[in-house]
Point group: C2
Chain length 1015, copies 2
Amino acid sequence: MPINKVEISTLPPGHGNHKEDSPFLSTSDSASKRSDYYDKNLALFEEELDIRPKVSSLLSRLVSYTNVTQGAKEHEEAESADASRRQSPNMGTLMGVYLPCLQNIFGVILFLRLTWIVGTAGVVQSFLIVLMCCSCTMLTAISMSAIATNGVVPAGGAYFMISRSLGPEFGGAVGLCFYLGTTFAAAMYILGAIEIFLKYLIPQAAIFHPADIHAGSGAMLNNMRVYGTICLSLMAVVVFVGVKYVNKLASLFLACVIISIVSIYAGAVKSIFHPPEFPICMLGNRTLSRDLFDVCGKTVVVGNDTVPSQLWKNFCSSENSSSAHCDEYFLHNNVTEIQGIPGLASGIIKENLWGDYMEKGQILEKASLPSVDVHGSMETFGFYVSADIATSFTLLVGIFFPSATGIMAGSNRSGDLRDAQKSIPIGTILAITTTSLVYFSSVVLFGACIEGVVLRDKFGDAVNKNLVVGTLSWPSPWVIVIGSFFSTVGAGLQSLTGAPRLLQAIAKDNIIPFLRVRDLLIYDRKKIYQMNTPHLFSPWCFSSLQYQFEFFLMCYLFVNLACAVQTLLRTPNWRPRFRYYHWALSFLGMSMCLALMFISSWYYAIVAMGIAGMIYKYIEYQGAEKEWGDGIRGLSLSAARYSLLRLEAGPPHTKNWRPQLLVLLKLDEDLHVKYPRMLTFASQLKAGKGLTIVGSVIQGNFLECYGETQASEQAIKNMMEIERVKGFCQVVVASKVREGIAHLIQSCGLGGMKHNTVVMGWPYGWRQSEDPRAWKTFINTVRCTTAAHLALMVPKNVSFYPSNHERFSDGYIDVWWIVHDGGMLMLLPFLLKQHKVWRKCKMRIFTVAQMDDNSIQMKKDLATFLYQLRLEAEVEVVEMLVKDRHSLIRMGSLYSDEEEETIEVLPEKNQMTWTSEKMEAERRNRNNAPENFRELISIKPDQSNVRRMHTAVKLNEVIVNRSHDARLVLLNMPGPPRNQEGDENYMEFLEVLTEGLERVLLVRGGGREVITIYS
Amino acid sequence: MPINKVEISTLPPGHGNHKEDSPFLSTSDSASKRSDYYDKNLALFEEELDIRPKVSSLLSRLVSYTNVTQGAKEHEEAESADASRRQSPNMGTLMGVYLPCLQNIFGVILFLRLTWIVGTAGVVQSFLIVLMCCSCTMLTAISMSAIATNGVVPAGGAYFMISRSLGPEFGGAVGLCFYLGTTFAAAMYILGAIEIFLKYLIPQAAIFHPADIHAGSGAMLNNMRVYGTICLSLMAVVVFVGVKYVNKLASLFLACVIISIVSIYAGAVKSIFHPPEFPICMLGNRTLSRDLFDVCGKTVVVGNDTVPSQLWKNFCSSENSSSAHCDEYFLHNNVTEIQGIPGLASGIIKENLWGDYMEKGQILEKASLPSVDVHGSMETFGFYVSADIATSFTLLVGIFFPSATGIMAGSNRSGDLRDAQKSIPIGTILAITTTSLVYFSSVVLFGACIEGVVLRDKFGDAVNKNLVVGTLSWPSPWVIVIGSFFSTVGAGLQSLTGAPRLLQAIAKDNIIPFLRVRDLLIYDRKKIYQMNTPHLFSPWCFSSLQYQFEFFLMCYLFVNLACAVQTLLRTPNWRPRFRYYHWALSFLGMSMCLALMFISSWYYAIVAMGIAGMIYKYIEYQGAEKEWGDGIRGLSLSAARYSLLRLEAGPPHTKNWRPQLLVLLKLDEDLHVKYPRMLTFASQLKAGKGLTIVGSVIQGNFLECYGETQASEQAIKNMMEIERVKGFCQVVVASKVREGIAHLIQSCGLGGMKHNTVVMGWPYGWRQSEDPRAWKTFINTVRCTTAAHLALMVPKNVSFYPSNHERFSDGYIDVWWIVHDGGMLMLLPFLLKQHKVWRKCKMRIFTVAQMDDNSIQMKKDLATFLYQLRLEAEVEVVEMLVKDRHSLIRMGSLYSDEEEETIEVLPEKNQMTWTSEKMEAERRNRNNAPENFRELISIKPDQSNVRRMHTAVKLNEVIVNRSHDARLVLLNMPGPPRNQEGDENYMEFLEVLTEGLERVLLVRGGGREVITIYS
């Protein structure tokens, strides 16, 4: 037996479409070893042991299987080709998860923007911002841990988790978005690195220089383009040379970050005793931009002269101190110098507790300084430090949030981890805890050490273009500058190595056709970087960094969603080893992700969702035929169950009545549908909506007929597909067909979704057949439907009914409304007319006026009634007076009033006839053979039967006369006789009643109202 | 027969919970006239005619009913008391719908804000704004028309439509919000009227005056409070005196509006030939506020002296023209005067085509004028006309939208309309068309006639505080001022009369308990106004006018939703006489409403939705027991159908396997559940999730047992409620119980929601019973489940199973894993442990090692396997070696290896025994009566049976030995013998196997994997 490779298949061969087969042994495999199982000890189970594995033999194979590298079989197979090239996964929690997470989470924001956030929002609100972002990621990490410990997680991380929990569509969409986000993140890191490089490290290296102080962004962008290309090329080289170098470099870079952070703490501590010297020059309470003058004062003493300083020259029109026209604000306010870093002991934190949100262009002011409130001219505003954008709490949240992302860095390496299920939760949660603590303490330290105007000074204009956080650090600002530069480069490298790995995992699953490139399946870094590169340097990339966070947040959202859904659905398979999750936490995390998405920018959020939605639809449209057992199926199940239970709460209102059909089909000997037009009719009646159950009965013994049942169900389903009937199929095996039908009528449907109407074929050959079962089954079914309070429809001559491709371009659907048993007769033509076939038919309603009826009033009333019902129909009242012999004669009847008691009808044994000439002949025939009919009704030759037959004949005459050219005639179906003896007569009545009509639908109401005039 | 009042009830007495009964006749009513129906002509249908009305007699009664005042019966009844006081509904389309709509739609916005909107957004974008808002209301009107023409619409308008289409919860929530919106609207109209009154009509009337020019809002607010109270009191008097006066006043007010609009058109036409004189004074390109100076020039000539003008004094520090220190901008720019209304022929429209969105405080500038670009000092900014708020496209949409609302004014009067179904669509759509045309033309005319800076001048500061639109009108601005004042007052009156009518309609439906005040049910205007009044003058009202539009929009949204849902669901009852609707239009309208809600202000939108949500939940919680046949039921049906069809697509993945139970219950003679603990066990196993179908069989003939079926279904449902089993119940009638069970197994469930596991009780008395059917039914069911590939669970001694209230605080659930038939044995304890009863039990897995097994390795393997499955369980491997005679003896067995061939088991006739002492005794007994057993197996005394019995005895010993103190023992159930002759032996084996155990669950897998190590 192979150790690393086990033959795997599920036990019954019919369940072959599970791609991830279970790790149990197949029958065929063990059949040869049957002798093993005939162990005397377990003789009681010997029949099971024939087909099922014994526990002991199973276990030994099982464990050798599960010792194989973690990973779904699919992944294994795909990778087995170059397995030799791959190193076995051997990374631990520290190197594999904790450190990568740490490095990804710490980023540019901590060094470049956190001081500014603390200054603008104040310590308290900054704390809140950090808390929000960190708790969002922490909640996501908890959800992720639960998913990651619920079974094997091979490569693919977040993508794998989402796709296996929520299905390939969601997985693919979110995975691809996450890939894009990671790519964008790499771009952001590179840009951050260049910003540090050009602004703080070597400003001389800038190639393009701003034309004037107010227009710096254009030149900066060009610089970034050039250096970005260089930087990316360098990184690509590093990555191309080898991932192991990246990992080695990563450690180096991470060391830089840690040193930087330590130097901040050291600086803070040092500031207690010996705060660093960073003086800021203030004019009144306004902060002056330091780089545009030298001495902080209105005058300088050169030799013995007091001459105007550089500052003076900036604000006044001439150097002459007396005659010059100076800015009003400059004139009225003094120049002072204050300490930029008062230090931890100074109590500056009191000033920084509450925020100072600024408008765009607002000058940074220190409220506690004295100032004469003059506006001053606008021209001088360039000399002050001013806000470059308007700020608000939500904006700051959006700016800070990116520094909490990166928590997937560990789980995305799941393929390289020794024990992913252990390392991911511990590593990720520890990394988040560490970084959160650093952020929280930094917020407090910054607020406690640094002067407010310096904090709010985004680009360090007041401190000589120094990095603000660098001014605090000890021993030197350069530690921070260099540290943050390397940290950023390192994070960029991490993203660049992570992104293609993600893409590869998606491509391997074969769910996205345009990724189904053979090359991608090989772990070919070069190709994938070539794919990545254009993203980075396309011009739109620079403006769409925002998408990165939206994509990340979307991914987090779906991780939370997957966890919440699975917890709430309580799938038996949801047994995470990580226990500290709760659906409420996941739900909270989900809400926070959604809120953050919209807070940071609602339009980007919508666009990002739109992109994800399109990918989803694309994958769905491409028909990803993956069955990974996603939670969506569980959702469907829950939805179905909930809806059905809800439906069951009460009987439906008349307004909501719609025919829910149970179509009883007859199968022929080869298990084919005998009258497919029954299904055609059903599909035309439903026009795609509501419930249709197709039932059929196989005569036999259930224990032996399982195969037959399956086959006929398949046959019926195929026919349903052809006839476009959306619905369910139910074939039962019964010893008698009659009993089977009775059971179908009783037990089809579920909960609130039960049929209320039975559609049954006419037993065409009943007269010819020697076997009385043919019509006994029919009448029994009619009785059953009545007993079960169901409506009944019997389409007669169903083979003449139109197919779904025919289109009636004119003609009528005629309703003969004789008894009102719920209004179904009126509703059916309306429903049929929803279908293309019948759309152009018109509806006519005939009703029968009798002796004492005022037929003119009746017609008027009927028209009003139909108006109220919002039905369009022609209305006709047919007078059928027994007394009016002339009319009967006019209608072609040959027998007179006197013959009424001895009415004669011939039980026809020949075929149906459809021409009126033939009918005439028939009728004449009947006259000639009255004995025959008497014989028939001699079973119980009472008055009632005679009267019934009389009605049937007369009604038939009237109907044929008026509706012979109708496309369809709907007719009340009389009820079967109370005692079974009259059954054969009843069949005869029905034949007579419908004779000479091409398509007849006999309708029997279920005893409740189905149509109403109310809305 | 009464003409106006007809006895109404549905036909079968069982369907009594429809509040809106159908207008058909009851049986009892027509029973006395049975003789009528025995008409010879319709003898065929005489049985139907016994219980169902004949068409002719039905019709005559029907029409006299439908001639009664429109309105649901409920409404009629409530109102019948004071019917005499009420005038019959007699309003036509023009007076009842068109004019009220017109008046409600035209409002303050047209006169007060449209010029400003045109100026700010430009003609093109204003056109777009108007188009958006008007098309939103037009789409809503289309949806509303469809709903209104789908049956009778009594009083209540929008509320009635939504509640009858989407249910009482939605209806109540939206209706109440709409009521609030209408109340707020009244407040808005009153405030608008006061603004016009105080600003343009009689500014002298102001009681409070602003302290300085920059702080006008506080005083204005106080003025509004005082005048608002006065105005409302006046209106209340008018309304209280009589609605008919309101209607008469309304016509007067509407005339004012129309005259105003005509005067605008007239003014526009006149401006072609003779534009009105409204000069505007400009400094540079800045607009000067006209009311702070007299002459538009830097100097004035008084006599022969050129002296500084008022304007000069404003901008300069002293009157001395030479030495004064003047504002820089004033110094460098010239004062010019331009024409405010250049007129239609001037081509000014080119300048006004594109908008000029302003920041707050930005000065209105005319770009085409020359200007020296100096900033000037801030102190002088008060002399210019500046924007009071920052504007954007979305803000303007939010400001304009209210002037498109009011489209419900007609439909809310549905109770007073002669033919609501005709009037509502025509009147509403015509009114919207009219107003839209007026708005579109106004936008163009304003843009074409008026100077841009005047348009952007919100309060007419540049034109001497005139109403800007008034400056255009002809013959006098006063026409507009007075017209707009009366228009506003009129609309306020309309709202005040409309709101209580709406509240009354809601209160009548009794769905909101706090409205269930008896007084409200009387048409008592006074009371309702007292209720309205506090809303109007509570301080928060002034700040929450925004909610009005949110509420209106929400109402529109739901009208659209109701139309879309009903169209998409294709309810047969959805047959609107208005044909020009489409679900896509409704959907578009819905989306626009939602978009507008969020565009105008997203936080108000969320709050409004929150309020509506709370009302919804309140109504739901109060349990509105209204069944109006809402569309939600149709949605449930569609959802259920869709989910079931989706589920059917493929067999579920192993990951998603969960037991879907079919619990077979036995009923006793009184149709009570015999073993309710079966349901308890099912509920514990499901813990509220997944499918449970409870099936039972009644022996008999279906045609006669309908009542019995219903009764037993009810009994089972009650028991299910008690035992908290959420699921479905299915009772079938069959001639043989065995057949009934076979049918249940075959045909329960629907589509993808089929049972996969059968739970069946043990046939306890089978040994005592003479009737072999007791155990034959059992074995047959076992065979059926096997044939249908279902799993089977047989809880033995189910009466000893814990109730739902018990809590096991310790103990074990023991699994005896002998054959692996899908892993169900391992899954079941996990599922049980989800329930409170079993939560604290621990799981133990025993497996049996045999001769050649390495039991230490097996234990290790099993532990690994369970780790992979994420199941926590103790693992034990029990060695059961035949060779090891000592162990057998140690376990208390008395018979040796040699006895194996003639093993003796006594068929016990006495009760089960549970102590091991008793068991010992039993076993000894058996030894004494070996003949008995031989007799038993003499049916087919083959080796196999002997071996089986041997296994049973030995296994039982091992199990009892290890698991005698377990809370529950799970055990593989051996399969039944292939040929039926061994059936009785089989029963005996099972008895022996499970003997001496308190609670045993025999489990037989369905032949497919149910547990997996994958996530």
